[in-house]
Amino acid sequence: MQLIAKLGILADAAKYDASCASSGAPKRSSRGRDGLGATNGMGICHSYTPDGRCVSLLKVLLTNFCLYDCQYCVNRRSSNVPRARFTPEEVVRLTLDFYRRNCISGLFLSSGIIRSADYTMEQLVQVARLLREEHNFRGYIHLKTIPDADPLLIEEAGRLADRLSVNIELPTEEGLQRLAPEKQVRTIRLAMGTIHRGQQAVAGEARAPRFTPAGQSTQMIVGADATDDRTILRNAESLYQGFALKRVYYSAFSPIPDSPSSVPLAAPPLLREHRLYQADFLMRGYGYTAGELLTESSNLALDIDPKLAWALANREVFPLDLNRAEPALLARIPGIGLRSVQRLVALRRERRIRYDDLVQLRCVLDKARPFIVTSDYRPPQGEVRSSLLRARLREPQAPVQMGLWG
């Protein structure tokens, strides 16, 4: 089979993994040296496809032959899809060619399970080794980790790659048993633990060889089963705490061709996925806990963002005086982001904050107005009830993707 034909099949097979980040790698440069590739911590999105997602890495499977029969996966063994397999050299060639063209910043390689978990993992490691050692490639490498593979192989992968990821796949153990009978939460968590220990072993040792310097991540499929957002976010929170994950990716389940009846054949729940990412960002960047974000209902509201939802449920905290409140509290005001908080704090060292300053900072005033006090503004007294505010601030709902669905 021609390389271009394999590329078509194996890119198509890999697109359901959401992650394409190339950020967080240490500073590396090829200036004046043999080889190719640099990283500086910042990710680069080299293109965007019409689904609005960033293309940062060459994201392919080494092969989509697979012995497993995960119901949500287009490459499960019972799926009637065309199959192909790259040689490690072919992946290397594509990576270097696309990199030279400035189409990508690196490689994200995953694979179907062939022969055994160890054999598959060895093949993935082989590609990374060729890139790093034969071709002096200093760009970004993300390897998918096969959970049941030998920890020694995972450790070797961790020394070559910037990031490793083990997919948790489904938010609950029951879900995994039902939809991915060959996978086990236990071995997935063991693999995460292996990676985490590898990171801890070199932490704080400047001279130690690097181990997954861009951290480990995972992906949870949302909407393939009936799990609620509270379970999903609690699970994510425990992964952040237990394994110091850099990112949990939420992937709205996309219907797959030749779909088994065990998974939905419905449009992916993109808005729900978006709200989960917002909530996740609030947990990682703003210090919210999963429990705080989901008190009343077990699912995040779709019509308002989770930060606004929290503010509406906690009116006693507000209004906050922008000239006095702690920065961490300012960050909880809807419509005011972390960057604006920094800028407000810088500005209030010079002088008093006025309402117009928020206009200049391009804060979302419709959202912020009921929750703030400035030197020349306070919300009109007789505070508006939360239910009324919510009705006023809810986002227009996109029409449900129907019509084309017979």
């Binding site: 099949i9 080889g35 496809t49 019409p50 996309s254 993109l270």
Partner: protein, 283 residues
Amino acid sequence: MIALDCDDQFATWREQARVLLGHGIDPAEVTWTQGPMDDLLAVPAPLPAGPGPFRARVPAVLLAQLEQAARYCGEQRWSLLYEVLWRVAHGDRTAMLAGDRLGSELQRRIKQVSREAHHLHAFLRFVPLPAPLAEQLQLDLVAFHEPAHDILESASGHFAERLGRQRWLIATSRDGIRYDGQTLDYRHTCPEQWRQWAQHADDPGAELWRTYYRHTFNPARLNPDALRQHMPGRFWRHLPEGELIPRLVGLARQGKQRDGQAQEVRAQGGKRINKGPQQGRGH
């Protein structure tokens, strides 16, 4: 009214601004021309002689910010900078801060400039030259790019980091830069020949990338607005994948968003795998 021309060079503007500040000349009294004289009412008065009596001290961070904002191409490119400098030099540091009306504009320009540098790093595409031509021109890769702001010189070092000893050239409609594997050669005006090489390079290998792009797209998640927001339309025509975008959007809209698979893959014969110890080893 003093009318000045700094040839869109920060170093020149900086010298002019230093003299103006030294003589206490108010921002309302000075203008910078951009290209042909654009202020008909300005009766050109010369720059005063000598450094002037006023000794202004401004924070070093301001100079760095002014230099970055100076790369912004737009109205009042240079006079805005002088107004900021004037206010800070006279003790009003809010002129640098995003909350202030003028400071907001300064910060907005800085942001636009750094965004445009990021666009260069992201959306520039090199075309590899075939070996005989590479030997003849002493160039491995060429690219044509159209940045909206003057960021080529300051932002191109990035490619020397990425590409090791590769020799490359980037041409724009204004300036150009060339790297011979060791040093950067920046030209304020791009040599016509560079532009020719960059714009007329044959690229049979681009089909591989276009194939990847088509297949990594998930039509079930169609969201062309997000694409447009992150990758403005002005870049599409220099991207090999640019011409695919409208067609892929169209296909997905015509009801192909039932699932994520590309049509070309669906058209091929599938293969179910029987589970067994020696099975599933494809070639």
